[in-house]
């Protein structure tokens, strides 16, 4: 064997060993079971094979814009009041479709320069313009609006990740999905009943502690009547539940008059834990951050004897009288089940969602289907591969062994790739493996047919092999490029299972270039080396 050939052979064996390592890592034992366990730990299976839930959800980014413009409206009112500028109404004409738009009515023309100054000073993120009927519009700058939306999506991803991590789902995928539609892809392996997870992900968990000015009232009308038909300034009416005074039944609707501004909110929480109160009822205990604690202490210190409401997602959860100044601890009681307090504590800990979310797609694969799919996919792959291998042996005799070795090495490299890169194997991915076998053998056929042709034209075996490889090479490159082009497009457009297919197909084809051209050539050369001059080539 000449030196060059030896070097090539060593390279091939090194590649084989490297990719075998990629498939199995360093197995605990070399028994079948040990190898299988090693294989399972290296090759990541897609949701369609191991079972789980795939969700696509959309962040309602307009919520985030609305929250910002709501604050802007408040700031504007305060600034105009303190600047002694008269105004009729400040409102948002179309919060659903144009959350970025604020309208100011009834500002006298002589105050317009003053208004301009206030807006540019207090609301740098907004543009002032003139609207219909001598009104003014204040619009969030498009770049700021875009930023707010993007941030809302990022923050939603963070929050959802926090929540799912705390639920103990292993290897979840949470990432932005699609192109600019504010969608998030969530994959939860092993979760085959997504109802609870979805509930937890979806809860906005906006916690606020506000002053309860008055109440409770049994109905909205009663509340209005008690206040002479007009709500006191800076208060809102909120729903809540309470024990019924007579029957003692829970979950009776009541109404509270609640202050508009909050003393502390969810962002001020340091921890939240579920527990039980002295009567054994489930509750949630929380502590506040340093800053939140100081504000809370100041508030409760100046409101001893007043009532305090814990408001969750715009609903009064519990109301208590402030007995003394409270520093940094609090408790949420109400009619909760233990599960509910656990979930509430979890969502509070993980932070509030910046905007609501909507589910667009839900796919659940039961574990029994997944294991069936693996079995059937692998069976089809093995049968297909054996059929091809047998045919190659039969048709090309000794050269068939060459092709079969290449095919085998191709498979090792492909699986090793999956092991190294951590790419996921899906059911269509297994189909991709099978297809690679079929298409991979194409290169061998191209080369072998060409060699046969050259032999028929009377060339000697060495020059026929040489010519065969040289002529077939151009074609092989072309065919591989076109298939990889379609695989890349599949990868870009597809998700989940289809992506897995694109991945195995392109890996397989890349590996095929190596095995069917380089490896196959080395094998031919080593055979020719040992051949006598003039001896026929078995092909």
């Amino acid at each position: 064997m000449n030196k060059n050939l030896l070097a090539k052979t060593i390279l091939i064996i090194a590649v084989l060993i490297a990719f075998l390592f990629g498939i199995f890592g360093i197995p605990g034992s070399l028994s079948g079971k040990g190898l299988l366990a090693a294989l399972q730990s290296r090759i990541h299976l897609g949701l369609d094979l191991k079972g789980g839930t795939h969700l696509i959800l959309q962040v309602q980014v307009n919520d985030a814009i609305n929250a910002d413009t709501d604050r802007a409206v408040e700031r504007l009112k305060d600034a105009l009041k303190s600047g002694n500028i008269a105004f009729g109404e400040i409102s948002k004409p179309d919060p659903q479709n144009h959350p970025e738009l604020i309208q100011i009515k009834g500002v006298p023309p002589e105050s317009s320069s003053e208004l301009r100054r206030i807006v540019s000073e207090k609301l740098p993120d907004y543009d002032l313009g003139s609207g219909a009927e001598s009104s003014w519009t204040v619009t969030m700058k498009p770049s700021v609006a875009n930023d707010t939306k993007k941030k809302a999506v990022q923050q939603a991803i963070e929050t959802i990740r926090n929540r799912i991590d705390q639920l103990g789902v292993s290897e979840p995928v949470i990432q932005e999905h699609g192109l600019g539609d504010y969608q998030i892809l969530v994959q939860l392996p092993g979760v085959d009943d997504p109802a609870r997870v979805k509930e937890i992900m979806q809860s906005t968990a906006m916690l606020e502690i506000r002053q309860a000015v008055n109440g409770p009232y049994p109905s909205e009308q009663a509340a209005m009547q008690a206040n002479g038909g007009v709500l006191p300034p800076d208060t809102v009416l909120m729903k809540g539940s309470a024990l019924h005074p007579q029957s003692g039944e829970e979950n009776t609707e009541v109404y509270w008059l609640i202050s508009r501004s909050s003393a502390v909110s969810g962002g001020d929480l340091r921890t939240a834990d579920s527990g039980h109160d002295e009567n054994g009822r489930p509750d949630v205990n929380f502590t506040l951050t340093g800053d939140g604690g100081r504000r809370f202490a100041a508030f409760t210190g100046s409101h001893v004897g007043d009532k305090l409401a814990v408001v969750l997602d715009n609903r009064v959860k519990s109301v208590a009288t402030i007995q003394e100044q409270i520093h940094d601890q609090g408790r949420i009681t109400g009619s909760f089940s233990p599960q509910e307090t656990q979930d509430l504590a979890l969502t509070l800990r993980s932070g509030a969602l910046p905007a609501g979310i909507k589910y667009l797609q839900e796919v659940t694969v039961g574990p029994s289907l997944g294991s069936d799919s693996i079995r059937q996919g692998v069976r089809a792959a093995i049968i297909g591969m054996i059929a091809v291998m047998v045919f190659m042996l039969f048709y090309y005799r000794a050269a068939g062994i060459n092709a079969d070795l290449g095919l085998f090495l191709n498979l090792v490299i492909l699986l090793g790739f999956l092991g190294f890169t951590g790419a996921t194997l899906t059911l269509p991915g297994i189909a991709g493996v099978i297809l690679t076998v079929g298409m991979g053998v194409d290169s061998n056929v191209l080369i072998f047919e060409r060699i046969r042709e050259e032999l028929r034209h009377g060339k000697t075996p060495p020059s026929a092999v040489d010519q065969g490889f040289a002529h077939a090479w151009v074609t092989i490159v072309d065919t591989h490029v076109t298939t990889i082009v379609s695989a890349i497009i599949l990868f870009l457009f597809g998700t989940g299972p289809v992506r897995g297919f694109a991945v195995t197909l392109s890996f397989g084809l890349a590996a095929n270039l190596f095995t069917s051209v380089f490896v196959s050539r080395v094998i031919f050369e080593s055979i020719l080396n040992r051949h006598q001059r003039g001896e026929a080539l078995s092909i």
């Binding site: 297909g384 079929g438 298409m439």
Partner: protein
């Protein structure tokens, strides 16, 4: 062993037969698309709720239908899925029962309707439709084995064992809680019996797609197919010449139309994986075409005096052995996929089975004849003037051929 040695078939002479064949299939497919079945779309594209249910015994479809009616579900499509022995049923609710406001309403209604069919187990949970976490929590609360410190991990293992047994040994459905005797300790079985019953079904797979995602995916699938074809055109243009690219892309388009037409004729749904298969076919058919084109290009340089039609014929014949072998072998693998790959991949592998046959045919019968037809047409239209004006050295040899043809 060798098949197809030194074949000399006049493929171009049969071009009218080929044209007729292609036209019959394309037109039949197009007629079905426009006037009969349309393009049957998979749930990812049309939106809707699909629930795949596996029963312990052969299910009575009428009973299932009655249960759905009682639950007030509008026009559910209920059909057997896979072979009868699999005991699987597919329930399809369509978009009118699927709204983005409450995406899983339809699914929950189906499961509830099926569970209330045997309502003798009030207050108990369904063992067949409970996952590991549910079992684990239940066992942890009951603590039948009186475990100490590492109860959580131990019960987790037991819960997983139960699931594995149910899914791998029993195909997903246990016929009674007692099936677990011998799998887990008897104390555990007894504890489970207090809180669980076994319904006669398990939900194997749920797909719920809201209208928004459906529209988005439809758009993406069409764009992906078009981009793929355009990408090929550009590559071939760069590697060969414009007309080669056009010929190959027309052949691929022909394959796509016929494959989609077949799905329409058979009323089989085009799902996301079928689109993946079609894109693969575009690559594959292109593959086949390139092999022939490469040989034509090579032969044009070698055989300058022969008319293009003869060169094309010769090239097809020279590569015929390879074409049939490769296609045959790939066909073998996808056939194995179609026969043994299971119900989930049936559509995908069907597309490949049809497409590989058509793709092989089209590279011989559509793409190559197009080259000749184009040259003939150009020769007739412009005569020698164009031939002389084209002077790039690469084209010179071929131009001579063209003039003669």
């Amino acid at each position: 062993m060798e098949l197809f040695r030194n074949t000399n078939i006049d493929f171009l002479g049969k071009k009218w037969y080929f044209l007729a064949f292609s036209l019959i299939f394309s037109v039949a497919g197009l007629l079905s698309i426009f006037f009969w079945h349309g393009i049957p779309l998979g749930v990812e594209f049309r939106g809707g709720t699909l629930v795949y249910v596996k029963f312990a015994q052969t299910p009575d479809l009428d009973k299932v239908r009655q249960a759905m009616d009682r639950a007030g579900l509008k026009n559910p499509r209920i059909q057997r899925f896979g072979p009868v022995s699999a005991n699987e049923v597919l329930i399809d609710l369509g978009l009118q029962e699927t709204s983005e406001a409450a995406l899983d309403r339809g699914k929950n209604a189906i499961i509830q309707a099926l569970q209330t069919q045997n309502a003798s187990n009030e207050g108990k949970q369904d063992l067949n439709n409970s996952g590991t976490p549910t079992l684990e929590q239940y066992l942890l609360q009951k603590d039948p084995l009186h475990l100490g410190t590492d109860a959580a991990t131990q019960y987790h293992t037991i819960a997983q064992k139960i699931e594995d047994f149910r899914n791998k040994e029993r195909g997903g459905v246990l016929s009674s809680v007692d099936d677990l005797r011998g799998v887990v300790p008897p104390e555990v079985v007894n504890a489970l019996k207090e809180g669980f019953y076994t319904s006669d079904f398990v939900v194997r797979n749920v797909e719920i797609v809201g209208p928004q995602v459906g529209g988005q995916l439809r758009h993406q699938a069409i764009m992906a197919t078009l981009y793929s074809l355009a990408g090929m055109l550009v590559y071939l243009w760069f590697r060969f010449e414009m007309i080669y690219g056009v010929g190959a892309v027309v052949a691929c388009f022909h394959d796509t139309i016929i494959t989609v037409g077949f799905f329409s004729l058979l009323n089989k749904e085009i799902s996301l994986t079928v689109i993946a298969a079609i894109l693969t076919l575009i690559g594959y058919s292109m593959n086949d075409t390139i092999v022939v084109f490469d040989r034509i290009r090579e032969n044009i340089k070698l055989l300058r005096r022969e008319p293009l039609a003869d060169i094309v014929n010769k090239s097809i014949n020279q590569t015929l052995s390879r074409t049939i072998l490769t296609s045959g072998l790939t066909f073998l693998t996808v056939l194995s996929l179609y026969l043994f790959g299971g119900e989930v991949l049936r559509g995908f592998s069907l597309a490949l089975v049809i497409g590989i046959l058509i793709g092989t045919y089209s590279s011989i019968a559509v793409a190559a004849p197009m080259l000749v037809a184009y040259q003939d047409w150009r020769a007739r239209r412009t005569g020698e003037a164009v031939a002389r004006s084209m002077s790039s050295p690469r084209n010179k040899a071929r131009e001579k051929v063209k003039v003669k043809a």
